[in-house]
Symmetry: C2
Subunit: 397 residues, 2 copies
């Protein structure tokens, strides 16, 4: 098809569409189509399929009962053949503003939408995405505002290898000699240095909040919290190896105890304000765990801490010094009066109870914190929301 | 599934695999599997499919006859059900070292391999990839060598909008105050600023050539040659709009005439050697066309020019001043004695004859150039090869 496209594009421009269609039987199927009333139509050209379903977070969740407990899982909707023989489904109601993800199930086989090149990888699975604009979801789209740059940066470590981080520098960073505060933003289990900029829309959220004047310009550093891995899957000498959720040494104290190396590198290579009151750390799930334990291990480093659906308690099998004396270190951290200790979780999150107990510890000690509770569970929708809530509170004098 | 994975990862580690399998019937299908003899096995779990094929550039091409001419298209191989009911195909012979791409056809529907998260987008279509290492293909993989950084950079233009480029800075750039030469590397029709770093494996090729001592450390700037577009699909305020091969104003002289703005930005924001003998420009197809016309429009800017499967002759409907006086500008360019004028094309390329005529022009005028001919046609395999051949010749004093 490449040659056809090129030929057509170079010398047969007007014929392209019809040529492709005639040659390849690929009349373009539009999917998803966001209709003017914000209902959404999904289409799939699967002439020989006997059943096509769509699943995604735009559908109400359903309960599934398993040997390991009852879980919420995305529901399904069934597509039917339209007049052209193309499978089609339109949502019963308009969708609320949000970034949604979905996949198709064709005769029990899960596939991505061949009509939509926009995919996000969440650990081992790829889903297509679309955005219904408006409200908070406008923060997730690219708008005609000044854009920050996003870089994949290799930095040295004491772990025997260079490692990779993603760095957002705000629009205007290149001009002048202004120094900026830094948010360190950490991913969850199975994630990597790409998670926040891809699934989390961090660059779009920062661009938009800064352009609105709702957040101060800041540098955002998105590390890779899996110390057994130099970088995201495919970006290391392991080759194009399928990602896995579980890697060794993700919560054994090593990432936490070596985190000052990250800060040292960033402060040495970027125009940062290298002060506690210009430094924030936040993360989701495992990254919230890392943020909690890093910030209390190094109580002089961060004035802003964000725990997004955080795992709190270390595994009993991880006897790192980092996890020792939880209470004492927390007391030291709060004695140093952080400007913001922000705890967020979804009401359906499986870590809800663990967070509740942690808040009771904070309460009983009189440690000040801000609590944000949202609907839903342990999902990216919540983590994007938390980022939009957390960032405007940072670095206020 | 996220919740299951997270639950398991956090507290039920050992149960994960069996839990997922039991709950979701997703016994992991390994595909592609590169066997020890470099045959490759493809697998797809499609229980209700009646026919599954794989197509990709690892298979011999087949001729297809169309109203627009005879084209080479990738061949197909048919998968058969193995003992577990999973569709499977193993290549008849070992594959030569190369980066290969493929997709499945399930009952006439083209899909990506659900077992392989590594995908590349080529204009409108996504294909899975895998690499058979060895020989030149070792340049395409990530190896345990120092890595350069890759940045998505927004720069101002006179076109009324900021635009986006991809910038590779070599390993060690951050240290010290060394200045570097710059290769400007341009994409083809339908491509964008992501094409060379993704399909072209430019960062890997540069990392590996530099680590071997076969290329000088250099900055590589990968622009977006579609002036009607600020950035790659999904990265602009157009939203998540499906990409198209044809955009307006791709070869109307505007990109070429404003190219000095790119150079000015790069020389102002990076530690470059801002001299002709430390500047190269190369591109594929439309990018070769851009490289040809930019380098002759600005004969004092580039000492190194690479035309990879280049379109040569402007469309008669593009009466830009850039395209006027082809012969005179070429004479001026060669009078300034560029150090390398490199022309490469595949023997099956549809632009072969056009390149042959251009070489005759160069020959008849006694303009020195280096010619490199490869098998195959207008495909990324060739453009990666050309990059590996071109880069080691750059910036030799």
């Amino acid at each position: 098809m490449k040659k056809t496209i090129l030929m057509a594009a170079v010398s047969l421009t007007a014929m392209l569409a019809s040529a492709q269609q005639a040659l390849w039987n690929t009349a373009p199927t539009v999917s998803p189509e966001i209709n003017s009333d914000n209902t959404v139509t999904f289409r799939l050209n699967a002439p020989k399929a006997s059943e096509v379903k769509v699943t995604g977070d735009f559908l109400p969740t359903v309960k599934i009962d398993t040997p390991y407990g009852v879980f919420d899982a995305p529901g399904y909707a069934t597509l039917t053949r339209n007049a052209n023989g193309v499978w089609e489904y339109t949502t019963a109601a308009p969708l609320a503003p949000e970034l949604y993800s979905y996949t198709f199930m064709v005769d029990s086989m899960k596939i991505n939408d061949p009509s939509n090149v926009f995919l996000l990888r969440d650990i081992t699975s790829l889903s297509n995405i679309f955005i219904i604009g408006g409200d908070r979801a406008d923060l997730y789209g690219v708008h005609d505002v000044p854009h920050g740059n996003l870089s994949k940066v290799w930095y040295p470590t004491s772990l025997g290898t260079d490692r990779r981080m993603t760095v957002y520098t705000p629009a205007g960073y290149e001009k002048g000699d202004r120094r900026y505060p830094v948010l360190y933003l950490l991913h969850g289990m199975g994630g990597d240095e790409n998670a926040w900029s891809e699934l989390g829309r961090a660059a779009q959220i920062l661009d938009n909040l800064i352009a609105r004047g709702e957040a101060d310009p800041m540098i955002v550093v998105m590390t890779n919290g899996n110390v057994s891995q130099q970088a995201a899957p495919g970006e290391t000498s392991e080759g194009l190896v399928q990602p896995v959720a579980q890697r060794p040494r993700t919560m054994d104290g090593t990432f936490e105890s070596t985190f000052p190396e990250v800060i040292k590198y960033v402060d040495s290579n970027y125009r940062t304000i290298p002060e506690k009151d210009a430094r924030a750390i936040a993360g989701l799930s495992m990254g919230g765990f890392h943020s909690l334990h890093i910030s209390k291990q190094f109580p002089d480093l961060f004035d802003y801490v964000g725990l997004f659906s955080a795992k709190i308690t270390p595994d009993g099998n991880a006897p790192s010094e980092v996890y020792a004396d939880f209470s004492g270190k927390l007391a030291t951290q709060f004695a140093a009066k952080p400007k913001l200790y922000w705890v967020a979780i979804g009401e359906k999150d499986f870590l809800y109870d663990e967070n509740k107990k942690f808040r009771e510890v904070l309460d009983s000690n009189g440690y000040p914190y801000v609590y944000y509770e949202s609907p839903d569970g342990h999902i990216w929708k919540n983590w994007r929301i938390y980022l939009t809530e957390f960032v405007p509170q940072l670095f206020k004098k």
